[in-house]
């Protein structure tokens, strides 16, 4: 099998994939700055929290390494990064988010920083249905230039599954009661924070998603 044959096969397969409808029409998200910056490593800052639940910041912070690393980036160890901020007297996320990008680059050596804000975290109790939801917004900033490379947002909710069960009012009321217990007993919000993290930070597919990083085999192909 010579090289040009391989190339031909690849090109043919690529066309088939395109034609089969997997690839939806790309939305016009401007990746110009992102593509030029080619960040390899990301320092994730403790997220700001505008929800009433104080657990939101660290619940999210603990679960963002997975999607970012699997997308192909080196993720600075979140626990040690957080400890370094605290040792330097930066005890909350707002103070950390105000640190100049040049200083972050100097200490952590990361190409980019991820600034996240948790907009929604936890359970809302209603009579008919309780919902556990986590929503967050993220901004990737180049630490060498201070330029924003990418922004995104995601939400996940227990209502995504519950909406299918229509067992009449009585069933719904029982469902709401069970949901409330389940939502408070197990750390359900933390589970949804994990889902939201993955939706927010898993690369691929264009349409405003994060681009693949150099440690993913699909780097440069999206």
């Amino acid at each position: 099998m010579n090289f040009s044959v391989c190339k031909g096969i690849l090109a043919a397969l690529f066309l088939i994939v395109l034609a089969s409808g997997c690839a939806t029409a790309p939305k016009s998200y401007d990746y110009t700055a992102f593509r030029e910056a080619k960040p390899r490593s990301i320092v994730v800052l403790p997220p700001l929290n505008s929800s009433p639940d104080v657990k939101a910041t660290y619940s999210m912070l603990a679960q963002m390494s997975y999607p970012l690393a699997e997308s192909g980036y080196y993720v600075l160890p979140v626990s040690l990064v957080d400890a370094a901020f605290k040792e330097n007297g930066l005890s909350n996320a707002a103070e950390v988010h105000a640190v100049p990008t040049a200083k972050l680059r100097e200490i952590f050596g990361a190409d980019a920083a991820l600034y996240v804000e948790v907009k929604e975290y936890g359970s809302s109790y209603r009579i008919i249905s309780s919902e556990t939801a986590v929503a967050a917004e993220a901004r990737l900033v180049d630490l060498r230039t201070g330029q924003t490379l990418w922004t995104g947002s995601a939400r996940s909710s227990s209502a995504e599954n519950n909406n299918n069960n229509n067992n009449g009012l009585a069933g719904m009321l029982i469902g709401a009661l069970i949901n409330q217990i389940a939502n408070s007993v197990s750390d359900k919000s933390h589970t949804y924070a994990g889902i939201t993290s993955q939706r927010l930070l898993t690369a691929g597919g264009g349409q405003g998603r994060l681009l693949y990083g150099p440690r993913n085999a699909k780097y440069g192909q999206d």
Binding site: F3, C6, L13, D82
Partner: protein
């Protein structure tokens, strides 16, 4: 040699394309073996549950599993182990883990060196 490499790359491409054809929603194989890393990090952050000893034991056990399966150790894993050793007053072990992180991921060098420099000098070490 060049021919072999090219062929292998092309084959990888064919396999990847075939995987795409096989189903759009098929999850990609993960790059790393994670064990319970994120759960241990969360336990560490919460600080009100399991002890650092227990967190460390879980991570060490998972590490063995990850390595025995031939999976790659993810970013931050060794560094977080280092932090736990530091909390338990074992600086030599901590240093070893930070160096392991740096070796596995050169991208971490600046931060690992920053942390290593802050650590007390090893006994008998001239700095």
């Amino acid at each position: 040699m060049k021919f072999v490499l090219t062929t292998r790359r092309a084959l990888a491409g064919v396999v990847a394309s075939a995987a795409l054809l096989g189903g759009c929603a098929a999850p990609a194989k993960s790059i790393y073996g994670w064990g319970s890393y994120q759960q241990q990090v969360y336990d560490h952050f919460r600080g009100d549950g399991r002890s650092p000893q227990d967190q460390l034991a879980s991570l060490q056990q998972d590490l063995q599993t990850i390595q025995s399966k031939g999976e790659a150790v993810p970013p931050g894993y060794h560094a977080h182990l280092g932090l736990l050793y530091g909390e338990l007053g074992q600086p030599d072990q901590m240093r070893q883990q930070l160096l392991a992180e740096k070796e596995l991921f050169p991208e971490s060098a600046t931060f690992m060196d920053f942390l290593l420099k802050k650590m007390p000098a090893k006994q008998g070490e001239v700095r």
